[in-house]
Symmetry: C2
Subunit: 284 residues, 2 copies
């Protein structure tokens, strides 16, 4: 007269729901953490690129030097936004998914408790069935067994009520969480892409504004000043048989004019820095 | 009376220019290739995420199932754009930088040729100097040596003229290339970020439109239909002592209503596909 079947089906739905959540939230957590790590690696490679563009800038004439430095600054800003993306993904996506794993373990404990109450009801029912077949005339024992079944059934009914509420609460929380976590993911990504687009637009303008002809004029002037420089050093220092014609010793010859040029570039850089807006980029 | 010094300075500027270009274009090539690889890895992780979200969708009720499927489709579109980004970076940034390495090797050969002509001039000058000290009275030998110096100097002058043109050409090409390669890089990135922003905006809308209450109603109906389902199967199949309570056998119970639900979702998906614009996303 008591059927454990409906409760069993509910527990099964519950168990499937929790098992699926454990499986997929676990996978989402692993993949989102991997996605975040790969993003961090992309930032690392870009940081190296920024560094090398700045080094390269220092080997070039004023015009390209200034263009490359300003371009590298924009590229560095993108990496600052990428770093912010990494931190927000950790905080708003990976961490909530991790915390969810803890919640799911608590749900498993709850289900175990429901199962033990439900199993007790089945055990009492089976005991009663055995007694009815073995000793159908033992009224006292049968009556006690019937009372035990009744008690177990009342317990099961009460926990079933609790189970229904817990399932409902759990499902609602799960649906809210999955929506929130993915919305946060999308928001973090949107903010990054919008900022990156903005900074790259500015980088595009910097590269477009580059005046190649002015740079070529500087280069030609430098070459002609070199060809007009007759009083520099003795013939022996040209070292024509050297296997390293562009060794470091040969660079020192031009140290004085290069230093003069450098101080000119510095002045220009300071002017350029006055026009740039450092507040635009987030700090790491 | 002939000075090799100015030409030497020019060659030195040329050599420094080529050496710097070799160093930095090589570094840029390596770093851009690494950046492209890391981007491809980010795409791979995202592809796995898309796959798992689709798998997860199939374990959920109609409302979340549809939301997750549509969300996964948007996330897949971002990966298609990322794949396009990877291909464009390869074609427009990494390949041109690689080709530049070949051009630089040709420049080194040119410089070697200039150096050998220049060194011949120096050698003839030194020979004349030695002869003047050893045998200042040997008019015939001195005159021949002077003639050799003159010839070598004319050669050097001609190649210096060529060198100046080659330097000019090379520098102009280099400046054009560096501007073009970085402009192409920025353009590829801008296109990707703009497209990603567009797709994520649509993904945001899909997640915001998710009707949690409708999903909860479905879930509650499923639970209550389970608790009212008395004629399903014999008690023995409940197998309460099983260590795997959510084994595959328990899922088959709901196979019939699930299939019905699936065909409903299919109809809904076809309707949704009619509204979407598949031409927007690039194919891999």
């Amino acid at each position: 007269f008591f059927s454990p079947l409906p409760r069993d089906s509910q527990v099964r739905i519950m168990e499937t729901t929790v098992a699926n959540a454990e499986k997929y939230f676990g996978l989402f957590c692993t993949l989102m953490a991997a996605y975040t790590r790969k993003t961090a690696k992309l930032r690392d490679k870009s940081d190296l690129l920024v560094k090398q563009i700045l080094d390269y800038a220092n080997t070039e004439n004023p015009e390209l030097r200034s263009t490359m430095k300003r371009f590298a600054e924009e590229l560095a800003k993108v990496q600052d936004y990428r770093q912010a993306e990494v931190e927000r993904l950790e905080m708003k996506v990976v961490e909530p998914l991790k915390r969810y794993g803890v919640q799911l373990k608590q749900m498993r404990t709850e289900i175990k408790r429901f199962n033990s109450v439900r199993n007790n009801e089945i055990k009492q029912l089976e005991k009663l069935e055995r007694l009815r077949q073995k000793s159908p005339s033992d009224r006292h024992t049968l009556s006690q067994a019937e009372s035990n079944v009744h008690k177990a059934s009342v317990d099961a009914s009460r926990t079933t009520q609790q189970l229904e509420e817990t399932i409902d609460e759990f499902q609602k929380q799960k649906l809210t969480d999955i929506q929130k976590i993915f919305l946060d993911f999308v928001t973090v990504e949107m903010v990054f892409h919008a900022k990156a687009l903005e900074v790259y637009s500015s980088a595009f303008q910097i590269l477009t504004d580059y005046d190649l002809e002015r740079d070529m004029e500087d280069f030609r002037a430098k070459l002609h000043s070199a060809s007009g420089n007759y009083d520099a050093r003795p013939v022996s220092s040209t070292n024509p048989s050297s296997s390293l014609p562009w060794s470091s010793s040969s660079q020192s010859i031009h140290s004085t004019p290069q230093r003069q040029e450098e101080s000119e570039y510095d002045a220009e850089e300071h002017r350029l820095q006055d026009f740039s807006d450092p507040e635009e980029a987030p700090t790491r």
